[in-house]
């Protein structure tokens, strides 16, 4: 008579009740991620289209499409990176959601639902949120562009450009489909849920071992070796011809893909190393264990942030290294106008790749939040045993710091390497005025200001990522959590 009556039962129309899962934690973040990537795509397509239209309007220039083509290719590449990061985030989110739904899925299996049917349902939900996010992003991006065109026209020649066109649907469709695919990939665990798990008393499996996949390991090593070889080859070739940068580009692509594949093996030791920094107190050790509770999940999460940090750092270091290289080859400080141009280009590129970093950040916040929600009972136990609210707060913050600090350091190192290799392989062979000495070999130029901004942004992300989970965690009353 006591507890049962306290639960309010709200009647809902059948149609709305079926969409109840949309309110589940994690779905909102997936919608947001899909919306950001779609809006980003819409803006990229519109912006490149707009620039193309303006170039066409310049007399004597109109016949050459090369520049427009290059800008278009660059835009596609940036969009691909953003969608890729979004896919990692979404797959992670769904695998976390599935972990939290184990009991319900087990109950469905007990009643007679098939594992495949259950998995298909999760994927369908991915399709729905993906489409919803894409629609929001499509509308948002188009509205922003419609509002910007009149402003841009004042800066340019104002050649007529139609914002609303069928091409804008492409990123929306791409994002919807990748979200669907990512939800499918993230729902693999559904197949492992047994009907028995619905029955009370079964011990909660709260950790997961890293799965060994020999085929994947071989592919990773091969890709990695090829990637590094191409990077080195690019530098060497770059001492002779500027074409070295193309070789190095593929080297970067291969080596980073290898790294993403190797993340579940590479990241946990790095995370553990970061954990050492926090000392041996109970909160630090609990946080370290939590950060590694689901090694694959944390690794993929960290790799998203690594990618964002590495890309931003890459463009900053490349720009700085180009300046160093030009100075070394020319034997004196380069033209300020040239430096200005390099800086502007780097700034635009950094702003564009920062979108991927934002998507990764959304994923991180989301992962930590769901992690805390799913650990309610454990937090209740810890509170009962004497973990103070302040200790809970420190624990959650340290947990976030594990991932962000590891990803930050790793991303900075990678970004510096890639940026330097890019600059070196592109311009190593090119003689510059007034000294015209070539080939030139330089150490990476490190733009400390940008590094400082990246570090500050990561610190802000850590605090931000910890806010919501901390509030949820400290709100857990021991009795309430233990009674579940």
């Amino acid at each position: 008579m006591s507890a049962v009556t306290a639960v309010p039962t709200r009647r809902m129309p059948a149609g709305l009740a079926r969409l109840d899962w949309l309110r589940e934690r994690g779905m909102g973040a997936t919608v947001l991620v899909a919306a950001i990537s779609t809006a980003f795509g819409v803006l990229l397509i519109s912006a490149t289209g707009y620039i193309g239209a303006q170039l066409q309007a310049i007399p004597f220039y109109g016949s050459s499409d090369t520049l427009a083509l290059i800008i278009g290719m660059l835009g596609m590449l940036l969009l691909a990176v953003a969608i890729y990061v979004a896919a990692i985030v979404t797959a992670n989110t769904f695998s976390t959601i599935v972990a939290g739904r184990t009991r319900r899925i087990a109950l469905m299996r007990l009643i007679g639902a098939s594992a495949r049917g259950q998995r298909a349902e999760v994927a369908r939900q991915g399709l729905t949120v993906g489409a919803l996010g894409a629609l929001l992003g499509l509308i948002g991006g188009t509205v922003i562009m419609l509002a910007s065109v009149p402003l841009l026209d004042r800066l340019t020649m104002g050649a007529p450009y139609t914002v609303v066109q069928p091409a804008l649907l492409a990123p929306a469709v791409a994002v919807t489909l990748t979200t669907w695919a990512a939800a499918w990939a993230g729902s693999r665990r559904v197949l492992g849920v047994t009907p028995l798990q619905a029955l009370g008393g079964s011990v909660e499996q709260t950790h997961e071992d890293v799965v060994r996949r020999p085929g994947r390991n071989i592919a990773t090593v091969v890709l990695g070796v090829i990637g590094v070889a191409l990077l080195v080859g690019g530098i060497l070739l770059g001492m002779v011809v500027p074409l070295g940068v193309i070789v190095a580009f593929f080297g970067g692509l291969f080596s980073f893909t290898a790294l993403v594949l190797a993340a579940p093996a590479v990241m946990p030791p790095l995370l553990r190393l970061t954990g050492r920094m926090f000392g041996r107190s109970a909160t630090a050790r609990l946080a370290a264990q939590n950060a590694l509770r689901y090694p694959e999940r944390s690794s993929r999460m960290a790799i998203g942030v690594v990618m964002g940090v590495a890309l931003v750092t890459m463009f900053a270091v490349a720009a700085e290294s180009v300046k160093v290289l030009v100075t070394a080859s020319g034997g004196g400080a380069p033209d300020p106008a040239f430096e200005q141009m390099i800086d502007s280009f780097a700034a635009v590129m950094m702003a564009l790749v920062a979108v991927s970093a934002v998507i990764a950040a959304v994923g991180l916040v989301n992962l930590l939040t769901i992690g805390v929600v799913q650990r309610r009972r454990e937090l209740g136990l810890l509170r009962a045993l004497g973990l103070t609210a302040a200790q809970v707060r420190r624990m959650v913050l340290l947990e976030a710091a594990h991932v962000t600090i590891t990803a930050l350091l790793f991303g900075l190192v990678l970004g510096t390497a890639y940026g330097w290799i890019g600059a070196q392989s592109l311009l190593g062979s090119v003689p510059m005025p007034p000294a015209w000495s070539a080939p030139t070999f330089i150490a990476p130029g490190v733009p400390w200001l940008t590094v400082g901004v990246v570090v500050a942004a990561t610190a802000a992300l850590t605090l931000l990522a910890a806010v919501v989970p901390t509030r949820l965690a400290t709100r857990v009353a021991p009795v309430e959590a233990l009674a579940e």
Binding site: S2, R293, R377, T388
Partner: protein
């Protein structure tokens, strides 16, 4: 001068305790003017059917929940007005817990769980405490299991680790909430015998909430709760006597 809990030979006591959930017409009175003391060095069982208020009583006594009205002492400390932080530290240092399930932190191994109250306190056990813990690990048969994580332990082993953790700090009072609720009968007997031995041989004060007459039969004293009130308070009983009492109460209701 007020008479203290210690003067009364009690490890903990509550006075005129009332707990109400909800408000107005929907209000549920889980505890209704309960006054009771848990005697030092004794193994006390708190019996009652579901909804009798026994878990609520234990939660409030242990500083896990706040009463609507009345006062609570653990040792000589009046915990009624303590802040969340003070309560947390009190639980950490002076109260031991054994719950029905999910007693252990899944990411820590057995010894990590046993030492958790010390770690949370930011200190390592003293030589005396260390000797006490070693003795507990030995007598609970956990020596070979110290490096195992909870999911690698059987239900009975998990409860034994929980008992070791609860006893490690030599608490004023150990609270056990249906400690055998998830165990088979053999593991149940083991766990109950261990609790009884801790009380008999080491003078540990224990309050155990249960609805199982067999479990309650291990206790020195059995307190019966019904509808938020204490309906009987008896010395050691056999399982048959306890069952008979419960049955009589059921028929009367």
């Amino acid at each position: 001068m007020e008479i203290t809990t210690t003067d009364l030979g009690l490890a903990a006591r509550v006075q005129h305790l009332t707990k109400t959930y909800g408000a107005g017409a929907a209000a549920v009175r889980a505890l209704d003017d309960v006054t009771i003391g848990i005697r030092r060095g004794e193994f006390t069982a708190i019996m009652g059917p579901s909804g009798s208020g026994k878990s609520t009583l234990m939660h409030i006594m242990a500083g896990l929940d706040a009463p609507t009205d009345g006062r609570v002492w653990i040792g000589d400390t009046d915990i009624t007005g303590l802040s969340d932080l003070e309560l947390t530290i009190l639980r950490r240092r002076r109260v031991g817990f054994v719950f029905q399930a999910f007693n252990l932190v899944p990411t820590l191994d057995a010894i990590g769980n046993i030492l958790l109250p010390f770690d949370l306190d930011g200190r390592t056990p003293s030589a005396i405490e260390r000797a006490r813990i070693d003795g507990l690990v030995e007598s609970l048969g956990l020596s070979a299991r110290l490096r195992h994580r909870p999911h690698e332990l059987s239900g009975g082993q998990q409860q034994r680790v929980a008992i070791a953790r609860a006893l490690a700090t030599a608490p004023d009072l150990l609270f056990a909430d249906e400690p055998t609720g998830n165990l088979d009968s053999r593991s149940s007997r083991e766990v109950l015998a261990l609790l009884a031995a801790a009380s008999r041989e080491h003078g540990q004060s224990i309050a155990m909430v249960t609805h199982d007459p067999v479990a309650a039969a291990y206790a020195d004293r059995v307190v019966f709760l019904g509808d938020g009130r204490i309906v009987a308070d008896k010395p050691r009983q056999t399982a048959e006597q306890i069952s008979a009492h419960m049955l009589a109460a059921e028929v009367a209701a």
